[in-house]
Amino acid sequence: MYQYALKRLAMIIPVILGVSLMIFIAMDLAPGTAVDYLAPEGATEEDLMMLEHQLGLDQPLLVRYANYMTDLVRGSLGTSYVSHRDVMATYLNALPNTLALAAASILVAIGISLPLGMISAVHNGSIRDNLAMVFALLGLSMPNFWVGLLLIIYLSNGLGWFPSGGFDDGLRSLILPAITAGTGFTATITRTTRSSMLDVLGQDYLRTARAKGVNERTVIRKHALKNALIPIITISGTQLGAMLGGSVLTETVFSWPGIGRLIVDSVNSRDTPMVTGSIVMTTIIVSLLLLAVDLLYAVVDPRLRARYASKGKG
């Protein structure tokens, strides 16, 4: 199992190389450079040249990339062209906000979707099932950021229950963004929980459990749910990854100072080190997250633990 984890960790290195090169080239191809963004109005040709030289933009792409990689190996993501601050520090400053948002939205999503999906599966074909499925399908079909806009219009501007943006209000300012970012997530997990539970509910061991007199509640909660968890964990992991990168819309709607905003702003100012650093960091975090999800299977399912162990030997 450790060997498996190490192998997966080693895979992150080519990912870092590939992703950073991809972003570097892309930012180089983009029209305009940070110089255009930074140059004061009425700057002379000479000023522009000097600024270009200061930022090192007069060097060829490969030289800049090589320098970037040398810095990266030393553990530095460089400094921003625009704010002249350390990229890593700026990123780590914004990251907790996005993580808080992601964590809160997952809490909201799982809190709603697990019970809903279970009820739906247990009462397969009933009105409750159909209602839950309509709800899930609607959630899946709404653009999340639009949900956020509606929440602001009706709950924040209309009723004044929650602040419409920023995060000065502590937990209260987290509620609407969490619902917004969690809408699609709730829908997906509800559907997965239902289909995974339906798979399990037909199994013989549940009949055995009932036959030996275990009460229905325990059958569903202990015997069925536990075995239905693997697909639910998989989906939750991939969705959490998507949320870290996709939170930019929620962050825009609620003026939430997370990594999504940071990246969009840096792309607009052609701040290559900031963009590359932030995307590489996000990618690493998402990759680690997916690895953690894979390892979590082993915790949930002893059979997989055995398989990883035998793979490790071979």
Binding site: M27, L149, L198, I263, T282
Partner: protein, 297 residues
Amino acid sequence: MNMPVNKTTKQRKKRRGRTGDVLHRLSKNKVAMLGLFIILVLVFISVFADVLFDYEAQIIATNVPERLMAPCWEHPFGTDDMGRDMLVRILYGARYSLAIGAVAVLIALVFGVVLGAIAGYYGGIVEEVIMRCTDIFASVPYMLMAIVIVSVLGSSAVNLMIAVGVTSIPGFVRITRASVLTVRNQEYLEAARAIGRPNVSIIFRHVLPNCLSPIIVQVTLRIASAIISASGLSFLGLGVPKPSPEWGSLLSAGRGFMRDYGYLTLFPGLTIMITVLAFNLLGDGLRDALDPKLKKR
């Protein structure tokens, strides 16, 4: 007594063929048919938008006296800050969203299916290289990837299609490869190879037709998510430039008037939701029709 009846239904079923069978099952699914109906209406409006509406007079001209009118009999969805009817603008905007969804998925389909089929069919080092590149590509969150691509290419409808399309490629590569793997070692492929058919022809004539089901379902559901992603990028200002009434940019424009004119935000989003819902309903229906064993799950 029942035998002859059984026989005729059996015969009828046989005559219908597999595609006919699937279509028959699909046509019995009322919810999926509702989805298909909504899609057809939207396609009709998109194709004939220039006949139905006058672009100059209704879509981009300003009419200040009628600005920001709340929904009423004359303007069911109200009017925007330039006095333009929102219903007309939203209907006209269908062509952007549908075209972006369809072309984006077409891009992803072509690249994804070819790469996935090559990986699944040839195996070995080719598969390893393609799949590892796909992994690297897919490990960047797709929204960030799309933002970078649009910024590089500039904001326009075509570039939006490319950005959303490119970010959807990994999904198609994986699905195609997985389903090619299930047929790779079947005997009929060995037979095709034995009679000396070239690999390209085997892939297109014998492998892919047997892998279509998951791909078709994926296409429908991906159009749904492509429409959502595209509207999100437009909302960020990375899409179709104004004054084109693309739904995402309508939402972005409505955001400025959110406090007092909520309907400017409500209706474009509602339209996106109904469109995406239609594709999701059709996709779910197709999945059930293509694989009846999965039904009732």
